[in-house]
């Protein structure tokens, strides 16, 4: 199984903690697996909660008018890359 990069693991922890995913270990999340729908099975409330947590932790806001959102929310890897590129903190 492919290992998570340290930053991906950090985001995986944020994800598990923010969304109270009690039965999931951060290191078990597959980096390319879809976060929404199938895969981790998150819904749009989770997306909002995650966006608010990212803004608090990394100092930048995900905006709904960003047409890359579908790609950004596609997997842990895509999300981590997006945060790494845009973080202010």
């Amino acid at each position: 199984m492919e290992a998570l990069s340290p930053f991906e693991l950090e985001i995986a922890r944020l994800l598990v903690e923010t969304l109270h995913l009690e039965d999931i270990q951060p290191e078990d999340i597959k980096p390319e697996e879809p976060l929404f729908g199938e895969g981790l099975g998150l819904d749009s409330i989770d997306a909002l909660e995650l966006a608010l947590a990212i803004s608090k932790t990394y100092g930048f806001q995900l905006r709904s008018d960003d047409n890359q959102n579908r790609r950004v929310f596609a997997s842990l890897r895509a999300l981590s890359q997006h945060i790494a590129q845009n973080r202010a903190i």
Binding site: H20, L35, F36, G37, G41, L42, D43, S44, I45, D46, A47, L48, E49, A51, L52, L62, R63, S64, D65, D66, N69, R70, F73
Partner: protein, 299 residues
């Protein structure tokens, strides 16, 4: 309002919708209302699933075994509001007597400049509210709507009022609620319906007419995250040309403690279900969820 049609057989559904729209636009309301009787009869005879859903609901709401007259009245009430919807959308508000209860709360909310969640249901019609709010009073309202699932409604009805169509936030993808939250931050009142479960979204089990039913947790979780008030609305059809629109505050703010989050959100959704039951008792035939709401026959 719209999903009911999606649950009826696609063909009859589109046909009836087209027919009612045509009648409304071509022959006027009195003749249109007369034609609702054969249309209702047709539906009563052909839409078995809707009939079953109606029976299961009416048994609880009326507290007795419904007969065919109750079912007829139920479907007729729905058809009448669809017909009127066309008039609302095309600006024919004058012909209606619309009484608004608790409207000051909405005006106060707008004056405050703060956004809020306007939470409704498939009890009655939201169209009067939407048209008065957006077209007549120019209030900052946006409506969260599942456009993809309701293409027939969107194409046939929403197209009648482009101004209104522009206020719709379509449900699409994970960033939908981000958009809703941004709208609330900008001071918009965002309307959504809270009584239908979408597969894959979080639900809470509530007591509803004395039996457990699943309700979506999403709308009130959203309000908690956005730290905004929740105002309930119910647009009840009272027969003839009368509509009553009720507004009431469900919560000024929903605060969830991390450890008691589950239990607290369940409590709030139950309050919503209680108010929905209250208004459903006031206007039992306004219930427009024509399916097995309690999943009694799901096994």
């Amino acid at each position: 309002m719209s999903g009911d049609w999606a649950r009826l057989p696609e063909r009859g559904n589109l046909l009836a919708l087209r027919l009612i729209r045509w009648i409304a636009l071509q022959v006027g309301r009195p003749v249109g209302r007369a034609l609702l009787y054969p249309i209702t009869l047709y539906f009563l005879a052909t839409a078995a699933e809707a009939r079953r859903g109606s029976r299961l609901y009416l048994r609880r709401a009326l507290g007795r075994q419904p007969d065919w007259r109750d079912l007829f009245r139920h479907i007729h009430c729905f058809a009448a509001t669809i017909l009127d919807r066309v008039y609302f959308l095309t600006g024919g508000l004058d012909r209606f007597e619309i009484e608004i209860f608790g409207g000051q709360r909405i005006l106060d909310q707008v004056a405050s400049g703060q956004g809020c969640l306007l939470l409704g249901s498939h009890l009655g019609s939201f169209e009067a509210l939407r048209v008065i709010g957006v077209n007549l009073r120019h209030l900052p309202i946006r409506i969260l709507m599942n456009v993809e699932h309701n293409q027939a409604i969107t194409g046939l009805l929403e197209a009648l009022n482009p101004d209104l169509a522009g206020t719709v936030i379509p449900v699409s993808g994970p960033d939908t609620l981000l958009r809703v939250q941004e709208s609330m931050e900008q001071g918009f009142l965002v309307g959504a319906l809270g009584d239908r479960v979408v597969p894959g979204e979080k639900t809470v089990s509530c007591q509803f007419f004395g039996q457990e039913a699943a309700f979506p947790a999403g709308p009130l979780l959203l309000a908690a995250l956005a730290e905004c008030p929740v105002i309930l609305f119910f647009g009840l059809y009272r027969g003839g040309n009368r509509y009553d629109v009720h507004f009431e505050t469900l919560a000024e703010r929903i605060v969830l403690e991390p450890r008691r989050r589950q239990e607290q959100i369940a409590g709030w959704v139950q309050r919503y279900a209680d108010r929905l039951e209250h208004y459903a008792r006031l206007a039992p035939y306004n219930w427009f969820n024509f399916y097995d709401y309690w999943r009694e026959e799901a096994g």
